[in-house]
Symmetry: C2
Subunit: 242 residues, 2 copies
DNA sequence: CGCCAGCTTGACGAGCTTCAAGGGTTGTGG
DNA sequence: CCACAACCCTTGAAGCTCGTCAAGCTGGCG
């Protein structure tokens, strides 16, 4: 009956994962890291909170802990997830989008920093060339992920969709140092996976059972394990070409 | 047996549609139109030609006549169309994408202009503020279309997908003055529609039959007619919100 | 200990794909 | 002018993938 009270963390999470992700786009120098660590408008939010709407003006934020997603909700309640947001990614950059196109939603407890100074510095040309390029690259990579999502939804079977998405998420987790030994924390519910893959919850469950039975992937207790990364990669590689 | 010889047109197509489309993003001044009309590296291509690959360096081009599409082709031959390209849109702008992410393919005979001067001028800050903003807006609108595509593929039925796509294309045609009286030239084959909507050709055909039977939409002889635009809009409006 | 969100399973049916074959239209060559 | 080829559209039949409904289970948290 009582609202599920949210106890915000008292301290800022480690910024290393976020910095690792940005460095994976373009190697950052110490001064860049110092600059980012200097961002001081910190905020913590519980799951299920709308972090940003894609409309101007919106102040961009940098995710430093937790998972979020870009989502659209239809009039009749259907939901479609466009993409997941992991630490080191920007939310609400005015580079893209338009009112109602999508909303950023926290999926776990999240911590973010106000990135408005970064954006302002970029526009004024005061941002370090490496950070400028990192922002540009981040946008380009997002575009590619969105195209991958289109291919998954349009031309992959349920089985392929889940394999492909799992591989993407594993590689992104690896880039922030959140994966080791083919294992990673995986906070997504099957309902969220369903909204991302365009499937029903029940069918997501069945595919996951199948993958577990085949000894390919195991998701349990908030963790994901790639049992046969190579076999998975083969299935997922029904993707690019030409 | 003989290659289906291609007779390129001898004269450049009218640029009015392309200019109308850009003006619909941001009203252009006469000098902007003069500048664009001054682009002189003209090219004509038959259908089925790869116009640009999403990788640097690629020289961007401005489509002035015909239809094209951004496509990805999978190893096993499956195809997914991301988006259609109509006159007034740029192909291969280095704003987005990455090798292999997608390819631009002509669907009809097309005519394009080399837009490298535009891009260079933009980078140097020499481009008129209106044209600069038009390019930015074009990119933003493309993002929205891509998200719409994700929603169609992920959460719409076949019936809804086709209605929604038809509405989008009609509005885009209207913006370039290529539609009148609920009617427009429509050069897409059912196979192309299938690759755009993630369906099989056979099922696209069945849905089109149904729409025709219901007196909603008629596609025949390369032309599309909206018989009941209002009813269609209601079906298609299962889209944005929040 | 009890509650609730999330996971699991079965049965059934709809939506869509696949395979197969036929028909219409357009353009090319004899 | 006709015949033919290529391409596209159309239709039927059969079956698989996936969604829906319904019910029970499990684990974590207050």
């Amino acid at each position: 009956m009582t609202a599920p009270r949210y106890r915000p963390p008292t301290r800022r999470a480690d910024m290393a994962p976020a910095l690792a992700r940005l460095s994976s786009l373009i190697p950052l120098k110490t001064e860049d890291e110092v600059y980012l660590r200097g961002l001081d408008d910190w905020r913590a939010d519980p799951p299920g909170v709308e972090l940003a709407r894609n409309q101007r003006p919106t102040t961009p934020r940098l995710l430093i802990d937790g998972w979020a997603a870009r989502v659209r909700i239809l009039e009749d309640g259907r939901r479609q997830i466009f993409n997941f947001i992991l630490p080191g990614e920007f939310i609400g950059l005015p580079l893209r989008g338009r009112p109602g196109a999508c909303v950023a939603l926290s999926l776990t407890p999240v911590q973010t920093l106000d990135a408005a100074p970064v954006w302002k510095a970029l526009l004024d040309g005061r941002l370090s060339p490496r950070l400028s390029q990192a922002v540009q690259l981040a946008a380009a990579v997002e575009d590619v992920w969105l195209m991958d999502q289109v291919v998954r939804l349009g031309r992959h079977s349920a089985y392929e969709r889940i394999c492909h998405l799992v591989m993407e998420l594993y590689q992104r987790a690896a880039a922030i140092g959140a994966a080791s030994g083919n294992r990673m924390a995986f906070p997504l519910t099957q309902e969220v996976l369903a909204d991302a893959t365009g499937l029903s919850v029940v069918h997501v469950n069945r595919v996951l059972q199948q993958l577990r039975g085949e000894g390919l992937v195991e998701i349990a207790h908030g963790h994901l394990t790639l049992m046969q990364p190579d076999a998975l990669a083969v299935i997922a590689r029904c993707s690019a070409r030409s």
